[in-house]
Symmetry: C2
Subunit: 337 residues, 2 copies
């Protein structure tokens, strides 16, 4: 049976996988923000006891995976698949976190869309009948991202008004083929969208058109209306990107009043000097595995559309004058099947 | 229905997807090697008409995708998914190749295992009922890899005896839910194996134990014997890594006399100054989409086990003194379902 219409981008899962556990780990700045109460572990020392920022990022992934498994009352060896990725060159945050994990591993690269991509892929593997348990995992670290994408922290570079602040954090979801929800009911896989933005400090503007295309495809494919979701959450367009996305739908005669963004939720935009908000794979991962899923479990929201956005640039592509290819993958999460 | 046993690593596809098209593109050195007759396009100029090596790599991916679609008599818009990845930082080879491609894109990072990983994932998506057509695509480029992982070419660094030569090439497979084969019948997803090798110029030794674990898991999960395959092909252990893999099985009382390696097949190891052989995502991709699949179509082989091996290191992890986490994913390809 084909559960995706010809030419469509959305899979409607026949047996929606259940979110059996979710957990996150963040650094000090995230712990000082408005979502502090939704984090499982807030570390005051962003090194997480490691000697390098890259190793700290791997340590966060291991902590998030372990905590999520704990909540699902499972051990790593039950996992049929771990889908993970991060922003570091050659995804070493994930590759090194996987050492010693007794589970099949599939590495992804979707930049800041990785939480959504891994959730969509893990859901597909379980719905497809290829296993009982899967993990979706990602991370980012302010200090490793700054020195890799921009300049080492010691340089003290000035940030532009459109810049976003890379979240130090890792989030993990454990999916089960059977369970009591919340359920991943749909996955909409994005296409690359590149509208010619070349400013690597303005990711929100670059990624907003990709979010627009994927969300529009989701509505077209499913016949759903925006009002059927309590929240449509992008991750992470930031303040400017969110405004652009709102405007793009407004031009179509559609006001998305339930639109919000992980990058604007995670920090106090006025008080924490983060300019346009949070970013990085870890941003949408920790907001989803904390604030959003906790809220669903508490009955605050019944249906959300989680839209991970990624900017697939590198410092090399920027230096070579290239514009930024962007992508957005969306997962519909519901308290009922 | 679950088509993977509990605790196993191997999916036995209920409706094995068919390889509807396969094509490859290589540079001059690969075109001078023993497999020249199996390449669709040999470019004498490794720049592929582009201004940078990174852009050349994207150009190769676009050419390979287009040629494979042409052989499958399809256009890109029929594709339900493109799975692609490469070795470049933030996988820009793939991300930029996907600009303007009208198809959902899922980015992977599996280092040199990417051809196997993308083939396994694309097969799972079709067998799972999530679409009709999918592409598996990857590339590597000697010049972009050298300057990223080691030193710029102009530096003229001396190569160690255990070094492998990164293949300049891209390979693509178009999978169809229905077709006349060859078919992808099984996918064995690997776990990370790290035996403590720290020498980034000795990938074969680092990756051989990962290949050993995945191939062993494949036999355990399926109950198959090595002799049921005409070829067991790793990609890319090179000469030294292949010998280690043979020895590991020999210690178990099993002589894999049908073992071969894409890295030793692609070059003339004596005459082309490549030391231990070829490597890079493109190596196993172009050998699979040329020599191996052409041979299957010509009736030379009926069953092969294609085992992509990846070393998930980065220059940063090497500089920080870390050993190399490795992985191997295997796809069983057969002329009959």
């Amino acid at each position: 049976m084909i559960t995706k219409k010809l030419g469509a981008q959305t899979i409607a899962f026949a047996a929606p996988p259940s979110i059996a556990g979710h957990a996150n780990v963040v650094g000090k700045k995230e712990g000082d923000g408005p979502l502090a109460g939704s984090f499982d572990l807030i570390n005051q020392d962003d090194s997480f006891g490691e000697k390098s920022w890259e190793k700290a990022e791997s340590a966060m992934q291991k902590l998030a995976l372990s905590a999520a498994l704990d909540k699902a009352k499972q051990s790593v060896s039950v996992l049929d698949y771990i889908f993970a990725g991060d922003l570091l060159n050659q995804c070493i945050g994930s590759g090194f976190a996987m050492r010693g994990q007794d589970a099949p591993f599939l590495g992804l690269y979707g930049a800041c869309s990785t939480m959504a991509e891994s959730l969509c892929m893990a859901s597909a593997m379980l719905d497809g009948g290829f296993g009982e348990w899967a993990a979706a995992l990602t991370s980012s670290h302010f200090c490793s991202a700054e020195r890799q994408y921009r300049t080492p922290l010691e340089y003290g570079g000035q940030r532009t008004p459109t810049a976003q602040w890379t979240v130090t954090g890792s989030g993990c979801i454990i999916l089960a083929r059977d369970g009591n929800g919340p359920y991943v009911t749909h996955a909409t896989i994005g296409k690359i969208v590149d509208k010619g933005i070349k400013d690597a400090n303005n990711m929100g503007a670059a990624m907003a058109p990709a979010a627009y295309e994927t969300i529009k495809a989701h509505f077209q494919d499913t016949g759903r209306r925006p009002s059927q979701y309590d929240l449509i959450v992008t991750g992470d367009l930031g303040k400017l990107g969110s405004e652009i996305l709102f405007d793009l739908f407004h031009k179509d005669g559609m006001d998305l009043n339930n639109l919000t963004d992980c990058g604007t939720l995670i920090y106090d935009l006025e008080g924490q000097d983060v300019h346009c908000g949070g970013s990085g794979c870890g941003c949408s991962a920790v907001v989803l595995t904390g604030h959003l899923l906790n809220g669903m479990r508490a009955g605050r929201w019944k249906n959300i559309l989680f839209c991970g956005t990624g900017a697939l640039l590198s410092p090399t592509s920027t230096q070579q004058g290239e514009s930024i290819p962007c992508i957005c993958h969306a997962a519909a999460i519901s308290c009922t099947k």
